[in-house]
Amino acid sequence: MSETVATAGRLPTVAREQPPAGLVGPRAWMRANLFNSWLSTAVTLVLGYLILRAGFAFIDWALVHAIWSVPYSADGIANTAVCQNAKGTGACWAIIADKYRLILFGRYPYDEQWRPAICVLLFIGLYVVSAMRRFWRKELALIWVGTLVVIGILMWGGVPGLSLVTEDYWGGLPITLMLATFGLAFGFPLAVLVALGRRSTSLPAVKMLCVVYVELIRGVPLISVLFMASVMFPLFMPAGVNVDKLLRAQVAIILFAAAYLAEVVRGGLQSLPKGQAEAADALGLSYWKKTGFIILPQALRLVIPPLVNTFIGFFKDTSLVLIIGLFDLLTMGKVALSDPPWQSFSTEVYIALAVIYIAFCFAMSKYSRGLERELSRSHRR
């Protein structure tokens, strides 16, 4: 209180052009946001104490008392006694050092694991290139097709110089990235078509079909769609026809993602003023040109936040393939933990997995915010 009075007393001497010294800077921010009343001061102090305590405890556990490696016996079995002793006081990162290749690449033949490793890098490269607006040209589609073909060849092999590795041996991060990338790359265009179809006034049958599709898929959990794809679908197939399980799960995810994304896109289409379509009509643009040049560029811009929200959701939902026996990143973490000497170190594995998921999701969310800002700059109303 006395301080406020003192500041007020000094005010007239401060130059008028600049805000009073007490209103800017980190100290002012803290006073305004953290210590503006005795209640918030108390809350700040209590929470600050708890955060610091937890933070120090975590650093102590994760870094100071952590065990980074364990001795191995002559036959290659890890002796995890050191870790067992340190349990509760220090993290056992030795499990990550021991298992990271199993977690990242699954049961892919050990000596060939450079192949999925390159695939992961290719996927990431693809995301980075696609994220840059100066690459948004027609050639980008070719880059996608080319990269995905290369990834396919690398994973499968079966060409001279690369041994054949069937999908049964694939696992880990490549599976997760594959399910998410294909799921969204195919699901998104499908979603746009479904959203357009659902708003069609001249094709009632198409509209009906789109409505039924969206409502049906949205009405069931993803897990049950995956179950249907993996268990029921083969029953309906004639004998001898066998569609690979990974492909079936992939198709299920594409169909599921498309239904959700379609509703997001439809939201964007609906929020566009009617005059835009009318102006395009009046200029004589055909339906597809109107949609491609006028409607979609504006509608999709409006729905970037919910779109990315759905993208992030689906990236994580790919981990549900666990229940139909596909070995994605999360499943591989569980597999790694089934090794007897390491069984009790799940915390470390899940933290490592979380870091990977967060890295991808945070990149997506950060990018979408940047994109929104950039697009709104050239789109001032």
Binding site: P273, G275, Q276, E278, A279, A280, D281, A282, L283, G284, L285, S286, K289, F293, I294, P297, Q298, R301, S378, H379, R380, R381
Partner: protein, 257 residues
């Protein structure tokens, strides 16, 4: 001057013919037996109280609204469900809206070149040259690289006029082009339209700007409750209205100004 224009070559095949056009929104009868002929190079101003159906009528001419009864023939092509007929007509009919409806994600130049390039299949360089010449005509060539949101309302409406002209239409429709503008911007848009009129463009214009009507219109059509109540040359319409409804409307308009 206008009497001269009236007698000046307004024969030949009509540009627009409406024959007993009827339209309903649900149970609401919004156009009642509307019949009207617009000759090539004729300039018609449509006025009437709000809700009188004047905007609906003009929007039927390029089928932004569909009519349910009667015939509409534009430039020799009848408006039907046939999409090819519709394409032909929209190519020949330009439209300017009350709310401008520029495409906010495209630059001024792109707004103007989009349709010539993709509908008229004009080479890009040629379309840009054409667009710049029309932007110069509406006196804003220096804004070509900007986005619509960076322009004032009057400038945006002038761009909208240029955009429509880039398709080299035979007929221009104006749907209350100055109603959304601040008073100081109305004049710049009207001046553009007057210039266009002096070039001999066939125009149908829904507006309440009586000064504009007096200056350029060959004919004023007064609509009320979905029907054409009275029509004639502007001087007669404004100085010697025949119907009570037009008298009432004019008194309200004049009081408002």
């Amino acid at each position: 001057m206008m009497s001269q224009a009236e007698t000046m070559g307004l024969d030949g095949p009509p540009a627009i013919t409406l024959d007993k056009v009827n339209k309903w929104y649900g149970a609401m009868h919004v156009l009642r037996d509307v019949s009207m002929t617009v000759a090539a190079k004729e300039r018609v101003v449509v006025c009437g109280p709000s809700g009188s159906g004047k905007s609906t009528m003009i929007r039927c001419i390029n089928r932004l609204e569909t009519h349910q009864q009667g015939r509409i023939v534009v430039d020799g092509t009848e408006l039907t469900d046939d999409l090819r007929a519709l394409d032909t007509i929209r190519r020949e009919v330009g439209m300017v809206f009350q709310s401008f409806n520029l495409f906010p994600h495209l630059t001024i130049l792109e707004n103007c070149t989009l349709a010539p390039i993709w509908v008229r299949k004009m080479p890009k360089a040629e379309a840009e040259e054409l667009a710049m010449s029309y932007l110069s005509r509406v006196k804003i060539p220096e804004q070509a690289k900007k986005y619509p949101g960076q322009l004032s309302g009057g400038q945006q409406q002038r761009v909208a006029i240029a955009r429509a002209l880039c398709m080299k239409p035979k007929i221009m429709l104006f749907d209350e082009p100055t109603s959304a503008l601040d008073p100081e911007m109305i004049k710049e848009v009207l001046d553009t339209m007057i210039e266009l009129a002096e070039d001999g463009m066939t125009m149908v214009c829904v507006t309440h700007e009586m000064g504009f009507a007096r200056r350029v219109a060959h004919r004023v059509v007064f609509m009320d409750r979905g029907e054409i109540v009275e029509s004639g040359p502007p001087t007669r319409m404004f100085e010697d209205p025949q119907t009570d409804r037009l008298k009432l409307f004019l008194s309200q308009i004049l009081r408002g100004h």
